[in-house]
């Protein structure tokens, strides 16, 4: 544990700390950020009305569009001269939003990422290869500062040039790999084609995040790389990686509650849901100075894992994120996340973990096709065996997700590989529109 005095504090002490920090934070944003002042005033809410943590429910939400409209710096809560670093969201779903960090923010972020790495089992003795992209994306620099703070030997290789990643993994005796789970698979695949068995290398832990992935994908990565693969969570609007992390128990991600308040809400009614129930994740930052967010609706779907973790940390755990509401497919009225399709594919021998969901239109009908690679070690000779595999995949998706989709088998490596976040859904319906 990197900061045991904080990570194992009693719930009572933690809630006192949260309340004190929340009150300060609300007062600061009300004074310093015009958007919050306007929102609070419109809702008839005054920061001093917060007397208990439950009063947070009276505070208006912040949404992604608020950050976009504030582009680039309108939601910063400190003067420009106090900002020492800027990052931005990946902008996959529209205009990017910009986030700024004060020197204190960078310090706290480093601590939280060091905590994340320690949570995954890393120590100062480790060699950490940071294969998240460096740049405006928070992944690379976030993991980098955390790894240095932990005292580990840090290799800032960034994403891309996969053959070199494999070479470094081997030559530098890397013990911890930090990247997206889909990039980890590409690294593993590239190692195989280079004749290198990752399982025989010193690598022992993967710190994977920045995109939704399934339990089946985790098992697959753990098997081909011979490592423990740990899920980490964060988003640039809230800070970047280091908001929550699995510990070695791999049973939910501890939310670093001394710095963030997590709420799970019903995205329709906007009411909080009880622990254990699924909903949209909402975060309030308690210590951020540059760009605090208050009740920020992440659009990520998860739930609080009830009960305490055997690792001794008292921070509550959120379940691995199932997907973002933006990625949710509505297939003939049924809500489906790509990660659920992934989970089904992982359990079927003969198909590889690489897949893509292609949405198209045939006449006025929306069509959904799941393209999946046949596994290189699939034993096949006859068309009917392949047709049976196709039916197995379609049948399993129908049985588990209650939707019928087309299934197309494609050659190994036919699905485009990603060096960062994988593109799981291709929407051809808007083509030419």
């Amino acid at each position: 544990m990197f900061q045991p005095e904080l990570e194992t504090m009693s719930r009572e002490a933690l809630e006192d700390l949260q309340l004190a920090r929340l009150r300060t934070q609300l007062a600061r944003v009300y004074v310093n950020v015009p958007l919050y002042r306007r929102k609070f005033d419109e809702a008839g809410f005054r920061p001093e009305q917060v007397e208990t943590l439950a009063d947070l429910a009276r505070v208006p939400f912040t949404v992604k569009d608020d950050l976009r409209e504030a582009y680039p710096f309108d939601m910063f809560a400190v003067p420009r001269r106090d900002i020492v670093r800027v990052h931005s969201s990946s902008g996959t779903t529209g205009q990017v939003s910009v986030v700024g960090y004060t020197r204190g923010d960078v310090e706290r972020w480093s601590d939280l990422m060091a905590r994340t790495l320690a949570c995954a089992g890393a120590t100062a003795d480790d060699v950490v290869q940071v294969a998240y992209g460096y740049g405006l994306f928070t992944g690379g620099l976030g993991a980098h500062y955390g790894s240095e703070r932990l005292g580990a030997m840090t290799i800032p290789v960034s994403g891309g040039n996969t053959a070199r990643q494999v070479q470094i993994l081997k030559d530098f005796g890397v013990t911890v790999l930090a990247c997206t789970p889909s990039y980890a698979l590409l690294i593993a695949e590239t190692a195989i084609s280079m004749g290198i068995d990752v399982r025989e290398l010193p690598l022992k832990v993967g710190v994977f995040g920045a995109e939704p992935w399934s339990e089946g994908m985790r098992r697959q990565i753990e098997e081909v790389m011979g490592i423990r693969a740990v899920d980490i969570y964060g988003l640039s609007e809230v800070m970047g990686p280091g908001v929550a992390s699995e510990c070695v128990r791999q049973d939910g991600l501890h939310v670093f509650e001394d710095h963030f308040i997590i709420e799970i809400i019903d995205p329709e009614t906007l009411e909080s849901v009880p622990d254990g129930q699924q909903g949209e994740v909402v975060f309030t930052t308690l210590t951020k100075e540059g760009i605090p967010v208050i009740r920020y609706r992440t659009r990520d779907i998860s739930r609080i894992v009830p009960g305490e973790c055997a690792c001794g940390r008292t921070f509550r755990r959120m379940e691995r994120v199932m997907g973002r509401t933006d990625d949710m497919l509505i297939i003939r009225g049924v809500n489906v996340y790509p990660s659920q399709i992934e989970q089904v594919l992982m359990d079927i021998p003969g198909v590889a973990p690489h897949y893509q969901v292609v949405l198209d239109k045939r006449g006025s009908m929306d069509t959904v096709e799941v393209q999946v690679e046949v596994s290189p070690d699939l034993e096949f000779d006859e068309i009917r065996e392949l047709e049976a595999l196709q039916r197995t995949v379609a049948g399993a998706i129908a049985a588990k997700l209650a939707v019928s989709v087309g299934v197309k088998l494609v050659e190994p490596r036919a699905i485009q590989r990603s060096e960062g976040k994988a593109k799981r859904v291709v929407d051809l319906r808007t083509k030419g529109a």
Binding site: P376, F380, E382, V410, E411, R413
Partner: protein, 146 residues
């Protein structure tokens, strides 16, 4: 007694078959027979070639999904009804043929029939007992290590 045939999964798209043939050609591997079974989306190319295991490695390293299947090779009597006799013999042994294809031998006179059955060893016994001539792998290609 059995022949090793490669089965290669190919998407039914322009250039895929050419790509496979180019890989084998560049590796100096000669094909003796090639048949494609296809659907609208994909096909299985079945290949009899020199050094099947080397060929498998070449194709797999290029990222293709390849299986090696053991098939029976029979010399077909060169007269009307020759193939019918072979099939009747297997029918009498209650052996169902999944697929078959034919290619000429290098001597240019006789033909070899490749037969895929569920239990190739039983087919070999049945055909030998029926007096047919089976073709050894060494007569067609150089058997190479796995």
């Amino acid at each position: 007694m059995l022949i090793e045939q490669l089965s290669v999964f190919l998407q039914n798209e322009k250039g895929r078959l050419a790509g496979m043939c180019r890989l084998l050609g560049d590796a100096g591997l000669d094909m003796h027979a090639l048949v494609v079974a296809d659907t609208a989306e994909y096909g299985v190319a079945r290949v009899i070639c020199d050094r099947p295991h080397s060929a498998r490695r070449v194709l797999e390293n290029a990222g293709l999904a390849v299986s090696v299947t053991r098939v029976v090779a029979i010399e077909i009597p060169d007269r009307p009804g020759g193939l019918a006799e072979v099939l009747e013999c297997m029918g009498a042994c209650d052996i169902n043929v999944e697929y078959l294809y034919c290619f000429p031998r290098r001597d240019g006179v006789s033909a070899v029939d490749i037969v895929r059955v569920a239990d190739p060893d039983r087919a070999v016994g049945c055909l030998t007992a029926g007096g047919f001539t089976l073709v050894h792998a060494s007569e067609i290609y150089e058997p190479d290590p796995v």
